[in-house]
Every structure is written in C-alpha cells, then in structure tokens.
Symmetry: D2
Subunit: 286 residues, 4 copies
C-alpha cells in the first residue's frame, strides 16, 4: 500500500496548505460515504452513467454495476456542457430517480452540484456531492460545500496545478468539512489523440503531500472507451484509493459521453482483472 | 497481455504511417538486442547510471543492476545538457568503459548518439543506439540510424504528439531498419511539481496504432526518485514492454540526474514488487 | 481597422455557435456601457485597481485614471483567490465605494460577479458585469448573466480553447443578452517566466469568427508590470477593441496583484504612446 | 524603441547565462549579415519562400520581395519535415539557386542547416545560417555553428522555455560566435485553432534579459496566411528587431506551407502598413 519506497525529503516547490497537509496530519483521512469508506486498504469502485437519461437507462445500468462490484453509484442530473445546445441533464427529476435506485441497490450516491443555490437540493438526495473540474475554482461553491455535512468529491481542474488543487480542497476544509476526496480526471495538454492526458503521477504526489484520499477518473481522463481498462489497471497499481468510471447499458445511444463509457460486460470483466492487480499491491477490491 | 479489452474501431484522428502501422502488420515486432528480446511476453528492465562518470561508479552500478534483475545496461557517454557549462559526458572513453562492463556482466548495452558523425563510433560499442527526446525530430540522425544495423531506442520528444512520434519512427523504418523501440519519457505540460508529466496513456495508444514495442522511462518522466517506484508499477500494469530507469551507486554525488536515480537497494526492492504486478497482467519479469 | 488583409476562407476546425457567429451577423456588435461604446473605431481603456482596498486607495486611483484617459473604471469587490487565506475583497462595501467614485468621475463601472446569488446585487452598482476566467465555464452563472440587462465582460478561461470561449459567450446570448465583450487575458502554457502566455492571436481569430468586441488584459496576461506597456502596444496594433489593465496609486503596497499594476505616471505615459499606435492602425483613443 | 517603461528590477526566476546576459553586456548586440544590420533602430524584413521548389518559383518570389522592401532573403534547401514522405528540399541544387538570386537581388541569404556534416557546405552559400526549432537543442549542431564565422539565426524550440532558449544561444556564443539572432516562432499549447501560439511576450522578455536581437516568425507562429498581417503589426509594436516571413509567388501551389505564405501583393501591402507602426514606436523600416 506504500507507494513511496524511497525516503527522500519532500519539496513540492510550494507551501502545502495547512488543513490538507500530511505534514500536519500524517494519518490518512478515511472518508465515509454512507457506510462505504475511501482512503483505507479497500479500493472503491464508483460507477454509473454519465447522465441520467431515463428511468430505464439508469435503473438497468445501476443494477448491473451493483451486481458487478461497484461500491458507489454515480450519475449526473445537472450536467456542465460546453455548448448551451447540448443536453443539460434531467435536473431534479434526475435526482429523484437517482435517489430511488440508490435505495434499491443499496449503493450510496454521488452526483454533481454546479450552483451554490442547488447545494441544499442536491444534498437532499446525494450521499456525496461532486464538484466538477470546471468548478474547481468556483470559490463560492467550494465555500458552500464546506458548510455542507456531506462528503465532497472534488475533481481537479483540467488546467489546475497540484498546488491549486490542494488550495481548492483547503477552501472546503477551511469551512469545517474534512470529508473530501481528490479526483484526478486528466489534464489538458498539447496531445490530442486522447481527450485529456491522465496524470497518474498526481496520485503519489497528492498522497505524499496530503492526507486526503485520491481517486482516478479514467473515462474523462482518456475519453476513449477502449483505453479505460488499461488506464484503470495503472491507476490501481499506482496507488489510487478508488476509481470513478462511466458505465452505460447502451453506450452507442448515450446522450452524453457514450464514446468513453464501458458497457456492462466490459465493466464486469474489468473488475475481475483489477482485483488481481489490487492484490499485487496489497490492496483489496471487495 | 492484451491491454485493450473493448472492441471499438480505432480512429486516432490522423493517418498512421504505413511502416509502423499495426493495421498493415498486425503481429507485434520483437526487437532483439544482442539476444534479449523486447515486445513479447517478457518485460525487460533497462538500468544503469544517467552518465558514465568513472570506472568505479559505472562498474559498481552495472554489476548491481545485473545482479538485481536488469536485462540491459544503460549509461551515457555523450550527454545532451541544457547548459554548455554542465558535464557533457566522458565521450569515447565512456564508451570504452561501457563496452568493458557490458562484456563482463553479459548485459547488452544501450547508449545515446547525438550526432550523425558519431553513429558509426557509437554503434561500434553499443548493442542498441538511443536517440534522445531532444533529437526525436533530428531527421538526419533518424535517417542515419535507419541505415545502421543496430536496434534503435527512440525517445518521444517532450512536446511531440503521438502522430509526430510515429512519424519519427517511420523515418528509421523507411531506411530499412525495423528494429525500433518506442519510449515514453514524460511530456511537457503546465504542471511543475514533477519534471515532466509521464503520459502512460501513450502505451496503450502506441501499441494499438503500431506493432513496435513500447517502454517507459519513469526517471525522466517524473524527475523524482521517490516517485519512480509507483510510476514503474503503473507502467507495468498499463502494458509497457519494458522500463528504462536510472540507477546509481551513490545518487547523492551523481554528476547528472542524481535526484531521479534509484540507489541499489531501492532498485532491488522495486524489481521484486514489479514481478507481482507483471504476473497479475500475465506478463513476466525474468 | 481591418486586421485581415488576406481573403482566405475561414475554417476554424469547429462549428461556430450561431448567435456569436460573424457569418450569421457580419456587422460588428457595438456594446454600450452606460454611454461608452466598444467595438467601433474607438479603442476603450478600462483601468483601475485589481481590488478595492480602501476609499482612499480607490478614489485616488480612479480620479487619476479618469484624468489619464480611461473610459471605464474597473475594480474588484468580490475577488476569486486561489487560497482561502488571501484577501477575498471588501464585498458589498466595496461595491458601494465603486458606485460613489463611478458617479463622481463619470466613468462607467465594471466589476466581477462570482456567484449566481450575487448577480442582482452587483448589477445594482455596476454598468457592466465581469465574469472571470475561472468562471468561464460556470454555466449557471453564464445563464444568469444572460438574463441580466447589463453588458457582460467575459474573460477567457486560462485553459479554454477559442471554441469553448465562443460557446461560453453563446450561453449568454442564448438567454437574450447580446451585449457581450470577449477578453483574452493569457492562457496557461509550459512557459513560466511570465504569469500566463498572452495569446494575442486570439484577437484576429475571435474577430474573424465572431461579431463581438474583443479586448486584452495585459496585466493578468503577463503578470509583470514592466512588460505591460510593450504588450499593450502590441494589443492595439493587433486590432483589439479595448484594453483592461490594473493601475494602482501605490503598487508596492497593493493587497492584490501589485506586481502587475502600473502606477499613475506609468499609466499616463502609456496612454500617450498608445495613441500613436492607434493612429497608425486607423483607430482612435479619445 | 525602449519597450520597458517601468523601472522594476528583473527576476526571471532562473540564472541568465553569462555570455548572452544583458546584465554583463548592457549594450545591444548588432548582428551584421553581409552589410544588413539587425538589432539597431531599423526593423529588418526577412522574406522568401518556405522551400526552394524551382528556379522560376524562387527567382520570381525573390525579385518581388526585394522590390517590396525585404532586407534579407530566406529560403530552404534542406527541409525538416515531420513525415519522411513529404518533400525534403532540393538540397545542394537549392543552395546554388539561392546563391545565384541572392547575388542578383543584392539580398543577403539566410537558409537552414540541419546536420553537423553540412555546416561547411551551407556556410559556403549563406550569409546567415538558420538553426530551426526542432534543432534548438541539437547541441553538436549548436557547437558547430559556434565555430562558424557566419551569423546564426536561432529559432526557439516549440517546446522550449525562455531559459532553455537562452542556454541554447549560450552554446553558440561559448564557442566564440556572438553574432546570434533569437527568433520566436510560436510555442505549442493546447490551442489548436492556430498552428502554434505566437508568444509575443518573448520579445520584451528576451530583450530585457539578453543583448541579442530578437525577431518574430508570424508564418510558423500562426500557420494562417490571413492572420500574418495582424500578428506582424503586433510584432513591430512590441519591439521586435525584425520579421521573418514566408512569401510565395503562388501560395496555392506551394510544396510546403502554402497555407501560411503571403502572396506578392499581400506582402507589398503589409510592408506599407508596417512602416506606419514602426514610426509610431520610433523605429524604421527602410
């Protein structure tokens, strides 16, 4: 489980904010999402569709990921989309459906919140709130999340440095909420054959500098369905505490991100392969 | 060993050059470096010092990496350095020492060539010639390497796209030399907490588009000695055919890149851990 | 005034969103900020302190930029800061002071809004609302701004492509507000000697693709006070419709961004030099 | 002509190499290219085709740029091309043609050298040797150029920091050749609507740190013919000592880079407009 075998003093080149710093709190923070813990020896799989599109699509996918080994359900009701003409999500009706299937499957729910005015609404349905990469420096939203009693899944901005990422988390902790999970989801570089460049070095770096759990999003990190398995294996080997990935019962017809979503058999097969790698690094996928 | 579990048609967004293309030659190319093969089920470890500094330093390090599980010896006699005032390598005397210890240990030798005028000289000592990242688009050097009878280790430029990387390899194959190994060694991004951003997604991408073997350089890719083990594990899990890493008998006193070189006990320990991950992905480190 | 002397068909490589597209609306949009027009032959200077720190600091700076040739006053009351421990702005009291000095000097006021819940409050004081680079893809905020009756100054995200920038503006126009000014303020690259890389090519590109006015922020674009004059001259020569720059009565003691703020004599001197360049490209600074 | 109107101490964040440093040699270096001087109050226009394709194409273009105001002729005989299947240049026959038309027009000649083995050959025809961006860190070539008696035009690598660029120039000066011109030609960023991102801030930065002349290549910097005029005007306003641009008698049929080459009337028109901007910044285009 120890990813750093060399005992070299750390110098990140910038001051580590105090509340997220491992120097000040050496023991790992365990985040508790309605009974599922992240940051310990278990590697948690968070899976589900990019967006809630319909009851059928959501329920079929959610039941399958529950059966296939997911520990937490993901799904978007409010969707940040580059174009105003793209599907913007089902809104509160999507939340309601997510709440229903979360109860049925027993999987805790994580879903995105984009607006300070919706934090309370989303927190009424979700077990963990996601702050997306485009909002990583939406400081009013970070502050509002810090006042919320639910765990926060904070995604790294696609052009955010490690320093800025930790400072964004610090905004949340500074308001009194220390249940924060950091998620690397790919950074923007000059390379265009992948959607983003998944920066797996962020895992050992963040875990060395901070006590917070770190997870990987290989779906947005690569944007390529066929590449998700290989990068997920690498994420487990590098020391990630969890994986958040897009799974869809019918990726070809998805309204959003179908090209990067696994179908159900692919998901099941991948989980089996991940378990072997988890064991090889003394971790566990239950 | 198959890294792509999803059967989605590939569209890299650019034309794949014909001689490196897997579409045209579906079976993997096996590169033979004086008897050591790269590109099959074995994962090859290439290790040694960044630069040859003295006979003692080289011989001690080389013997230790041979004992610890390396399959090929690396070491620089001609060094590309950003500043003219930095140590530029021992030159031909360095080659001579490399040749001696290569024979003694039985490890084939890879070393860098920087100048078209030195290809013949370097090929007289080395079993494989390295073309470094700063020379990835040094087209006369690529052409000269293509006329050489020795295998070529081609490093990705720190700002080269996958397309440009494949085109650079095509220059070599186009001259008649198909014994080329591709090496991802970190790309330049906005992030500064690591020396470069090691782009592990390059492994599944390159292996999908091309039949050539792909290896990873975690030393230059991270620039951080303590991070090398974690990223090397990820490289094995993601499907790399080999690892090239810097090892030094006394990193604190290295003339070059000591901050990113493993010491000898760290190297031995890492190889043990890598073997477990190799098994988990149905590969082998001998 | 025409920056594109070659008549080559445009192919930006992506679809231009319809409401911002110059193909659909060829004539330039003139934005009217309480009587000051942007997008015509005049180049407008927007100047003032990064943040309101005190009545004295604000009033002294505002009076000086008014005397020196500014057409619009800038100043921040709500400040997006990377760290929660940095000065976060004076809030509503800052807005009140900005309103007072705007009236006294006769300069229309632009100030930043960061939270959907504050749009109405800020619009009560400001003649134009600024949406900062970190909020360029804060879609709820863009939508709220689109419902507002005031002009919007939209800054390019430091990680945003030209395509994403135009799509963000489209969100605002799509709600019925076409009074939008685009502002290039530097993008994030590998280069670290400047704070950002000011992408002046964004001016001809945006003006070719869209009918909206385009301005430049050399203060954030360079982060270097001594470099602001040279880059501002270039911005005028390249065809910008305005400049937004930080000016401070005492940069050495500024609470925010003093290292990139001009002092008052520097500002006055620069305006004189800019007028000559404006004439050389058939524009005018009044 | 003074681009830095603010008297702030310089801190580039890295040590300036001694031979290129303005601290050590405060007066500007004037480079003399067969009688044409660069680095003084005159702004020099270097123009010509990307590649020599035929005698007709070269001679027509060269005579037109001579008549239109160019001070130096450019043209490539050895071409660095990403793909081995692209036109690689006419080689020595191209050099011969360049030499003929250089004599006829009286324009000194700059052309690229890519291989240490060709330095002598190219220096036999050219008045200035160009080292291209892909070879900026080809250290043997830099050293060979430093031993040559001809001025060197050194292009910034598309991935090179300002620090690395200055260190590359230092390699040349360190061999005894101080006749070096620095050329910014666009850096690689995430933005794809332009071929590269032309970093005009490199001009004031390099001129502040170094005594060497700095010129701009708007053709490669933008990759867009229609954008060349706007960016060239900006380059003059920002303080560049010269411009190197691609001009072709028939861009539509060029074998190389036609999409970024001006045709002859566009070139003539641009020079007229540039003269007005040069005057506005107290410079001169003769």
């Amino acid at each position: 489980m120890e990813t750093n075998s060399c005992d070299v003093p750390v110098n990140a080149g910038f001051p580590i904010p105090p509340r997220v710093s491992r120097k000040i709190k050496p023991e790992a923070t365990i985040v508790n999402v309605a009974g599922v813990t992240i940051g310990g020896s278990d590697i948690v799989i968070i899976a589900g569709p990019c967006a809630v599109e319909s009851q059928d699509q959501l329920f079929e996918t959610a039941r399958a990921v529950a059966a296939g080994g997911a520990g937490i359900l993901r799904g978007g009701a409010f969707k940040p989309r580059s174009s105003p003409y793209n599907f913007q999500g089902m809104g509160e009706e999507g939340l309601r459906l997510l709440g229903l299937i979360s109860k049925e499957t027993g999987l805790p729910l994580v879903t995105e919140v984009m607006d300070t005015r919706q934090v309370e609404l989303v927190a009424g349905y979700a077990d963990m709130l996601q702050i997306g990469s485009r909002n990583m420096q939406n400081f009013p939203l970070l502050k509002e999340a810090g006042l919320c009693k639910k765990p926060i899944l904070l995604k790294r901005g696609m052009m955010a440095t490690i320093e800025e990422f930790l400072l964004a988390a610090e905004y949340i902790l500074n308001q009194g909420n220390d249940q924060v999970i950091l998620c690397e989801r790919g950074i923007r570089t000059f390379e265009t054959s992948t959607r983003n460049t998944l920066d797996l070095s962020a895992v050992p770096m963040l875990k060395r500098l901070s006590h917070l759990p770190v997870i990987i999003d290989p779906s947005h990190g690569t944007g390529l369905r066929w590449m998700v398995p290989a990068m997920t294996k690498a994420a487990v080997a590098v020391g990630a505490d969890g994986i958040i990935m897009e799974v869809h019962c019918n990726p070809e017809e998805a309204l959003c991100d179908g090209h990067q979503s696994l179908n159900l058999p692919e998901f099941e097969q991948l989980i089996k392969e991940l378990k072997k790698i988890a064991l090889a690094v003394d971790r566990n996928i239950s």
